[in-house]
Amino acid sequence: MLANQIGYYSLILGLLFSLFICFVSIKDFKNNNKSVSQNILNLTFLQLIFVVVSFLSLILSFINSDFSNETVFNNSHTSKPLFYKISGTWGNHEGSLLLWLLVLTLFIFLFLIKSREQPKKYRILTLLFQQIIIIGFFLFVLMTSNPFNYLFPIPIEGLGLNPILQDPALAIHPPILYLGYVGTSVIFSSSLAAVIQNYITKDWGEHIKKWVLVSWIFLTVGIMLGSIWAYYELGWGGFWFWDPVENVSLMPWLTLTALLHCIVILEKRGALKSWVIILSITTFTLSMCGTFLVRSGILNSVHTFANDPARGIFILIFLFFLIILSLGIFFVFNKENNENPNNFFWLSRETSILINNWFMMYFLSVVLIGTIYPIFLEVVSSEKISIGPPFYQKLIVPFLIPFLLFMSLGPRLKWIKSKIENKNSLIITFIVSVLLTFFIIKNLTTDLLFYTVLVSAAFFLFFTTLKEIFITRFNNVPQTIAHFGFSLLILSILFNSILSSEIITNIKIGEKYIYSKGEIFFKRIEEKKESNFNSIIAYFEIKDENGRIVKLKPEIRIYNQPIIITSEADIKMTLLEDKFLVMNLVKGKEYFNIRYQIKPFMIWIWISVLLLSAGGLMSVFKQKYEK
C-alpha cells in the first residue's frame, strides 16, 4: 500500500526532475563555463534515485504480494517462489517499461560521469536528447501503463505469472537485453549532439565506441539467453525459430554490429561520418520498435493493437517524433567536409568493412521485410499470412558463403591501400578447409556441393583466425577472438542442423518403442506436489545402437495459478551432443506424446556466442589499457 504510493509519487517527481534538468541544462549551455555545472550532475543523480525508489517499491509490492496493486494482482500469486515474485516485476508490460526507464536514467548518469574529457556543449546536448527520450517514457508509463494502479476492493489472491516465464534464464533475460537496447539510446543521443556540434571526429569515435561495444555485448548475451530458454522450455528442440519476437531483437543487433565495424573507420580514419550517424539513429529506432512491438502485442496481429489503442497510438506518435527529430537534425546540421579522407584503394581495410556493412544491411532487409510484410498485408488486404523459416534460410544461408570468406580476408588488409600477404599460406588453408569439409560431410547430406562450399567457407574462417591467435599473434586479439567465435557459431549451427535426428511418437506407460537406431522404454511415472504446481515425472530408458543406455526424466508441470501445463525437457548435455527428451500430455488420453532428439554440438552454439561477446569485452578493456 505505502510502497505503492511511494513508487507512484517518485515516478512523478522523476518526471518533474526531467523538466528541471532540461531547464538547468539549457541555461548552462548558454553559459561560458568550461565544464558542465555540478548541479546538473546532482539533478541527474537524484532523478536516477527516484526511478530506483519507484522500481524498488514495485519489487516490494511484488514480494509482499500486495494485490491492491493492479500489476501485482495481474502477474503474481502468493504461492509463487520468492525468486519468481521478484522476477515477475519485469515479466509484464508495466514493470518492464519501468525497468527501461531505470536503465535510461542510469545510463545517462553513467554517461555524464564517463565523459568528463569531452566538450561541454556536446555533453549537455546529449543529456538533453536523452531527457527527451526519458520524458517520453515517463509520460508513456504514467499515462498508459502505470504500474501502480490501485485496486479496490483488494483481491485476496493474484492471477499468477505465466509459468512459462517462471524460469531462471528468463528472469535475467529481459534486464540484460534492456541494457543492450537502452545502451543504443545513449549512442543515439550522443550522435545527434555530435552532429549539431560538428564533433563527429576521431575523438568522438573513440569515445562512443565503448558505448557501442557495451551495448553490443549486452544485446548479444541477452539474445542468447532468450534463445537458450526457448531451447529447453518451448519443447521444440530448436534455438531459433525466426519468430517475429526473435526477429525484432535481431534487427538492432545487425545494425549495431554494422556500427561496431564502421565506428572503427571513424576512429582510425575519420571517414564515413554520415553513415555512422544514420546507423546510430536506425539502431535505436529498431531497439525501441523491438521493445514496443513485443510488449504491445502488435506482432501477433495488427488486431491486438485495437485492444489498447491509447498505448499503440502513443508509441507510434513518440516513435515518429523521434525519427523526424533525428532526421531533421541530421539534414540541417550535418556538414560534408571536403577534406575528409574518403579516398582509398579498392583493396583496403575500408572496403572490407564496407562489405561487412553491406551484408549487415542485406540481412537486416530480409529480416525486416519478413517481419513487417505480414502485418502490412493484413492492413492492406486483410489477408492473413505467415512467413516461415524457409524464407529466411533461403535468403540468408547462401550469402553466408561470401560473408565468411570476406570475414577471413578483411581483417588482414591494411588501411587505405593494401595487398594480400602470405598468399601461399592462405591458399593452403583454403585447400585444407575444402578437403576436410569434403571428407566430413560426403556421407551426411544430399546437397553435397552446396554444403561443401558453405562448410568450407566456415572452416576457412575458423583456421585463419585460429592461426592468428596461436601462430602469427596478430595485434588485434579481441577482434580475432570474436571472429573465431563467429566461425565456431556457424560451424556448430551447420553441423547441428545436418546431423540432428528426432523421433516423435505417442507411447503408453510400460511400452517400448523400437526404431532403426535403438529403442525407447517408458518405464513409469511419478507424481509430485510442489507449492505452485503438480508435476508428473516420467522415467525413460533410451538405448542407442551401441547398446548404451541413457536415462531421461522429462517432466510435465501442471501449474495451479493460472492453470497451465508446461513440459520440462530433460537434456543430457555433453561436449559432443545433447540428448533431448520432451513429453506432452494429450488431455484425458492414456498416450503420452514424446519427442526425442539427438542434437550434436548444441553446447558449442552457446560457447561460441560467449566467445563472440568475450571478444567485445576484451576490446573494451584493451581500449582502456592502451590509454
Binding site: 488486431h303 489477408e383 492473413k384 524464407f391 535468403l395 516423435i504 501445463i565 508446461t566 488431455k587
Partner: protein, 139 residues
C-alpha cells in the same frame, strides 16, 4: 571528361543501386514462394479449387473429436459453421486440447481432409491466436 573522383563516385553509386535492386528482387521473389496463407474451415469449404500449397488452418478443436494411437493424432477443427478432419503425426503442444483454439500447418488432401505437419504451440492458455478468434467469430 570527368575527373577521376567523379568517376569513382559514379561507380560507387551504380554498385549500391545495383545491389539494392538485386536485394529487393531476391527478397520479393522468395517471399512469393514462402508465404503461408491462413484459412478457416469455412473458407476451405467454399473455395472451388484445392489449394496445393502449404497453408494454416485455425479454429477450435471439436469436443470428443481427438483420437490418438501410437502413430498419429486425429481431430476435427471447427469454426462452428464448418469443420475439417485433421491427421497429424508429430509433437503435440501442451495447450492442445478439446475445446481450445488451435492452428495447424500442413497440406490439404481434399477439402475435408487436412494433413498437418505442425501444430503451433501457444504460450498462454487464455491466448487465442487472433486469426482463430476471427475464424470462429466473436464467441
Amino acid at each position: 571528361m570527368y575527373g577521376k573522383k567523379v568517376k569513382l563516385r559514379f561507380l560507387f553509386l551504380t554498385l549500391i543501386l545495383g545491389s539494392v535492386i538485386l536485394t529487393v528482387f531476391l527478397i520479393l521473389q522468395s517471399l512469393k514462394e514462402n508465404v503461408i496463407y491462413f484459412q478457416s474451415p469455412s473458407e476451405i469449404k467454399s473455395s472451388a479449387e484445392l489449394n496445393k500449397k502449404k497453408i494454416r488452418v485455425g479454429g477450435m478443436v471439436k469436443e470428443e473429436s481427438v483420437f490418438i494411437d501410437s502413430k498419429e493424432v486425429s481431430f476435427i477443427i471447427t469454426d462452428f459453421k464448418n469443420e475439417i478432419n485433421v491427421v497429424y503425426s508429430g509433437a503435440v503442444p501442451n495447450l492442445f486440447a478439446e475445446g481450445k483454439g488451435v492452428v495447424a500447418e500442413g497440406f490439404l488432401k481434399d477439402n475435408n481432409y487436412f494433413l498437418a505437419t505442425k501444430i503451433l504451440a501457444k504460450h498462454d492458455e487464455n491466448y487465442m491466436p487472433p486469426e482463430v478468434k476471427e475464424a470462429i467469430g466473436d464467441k
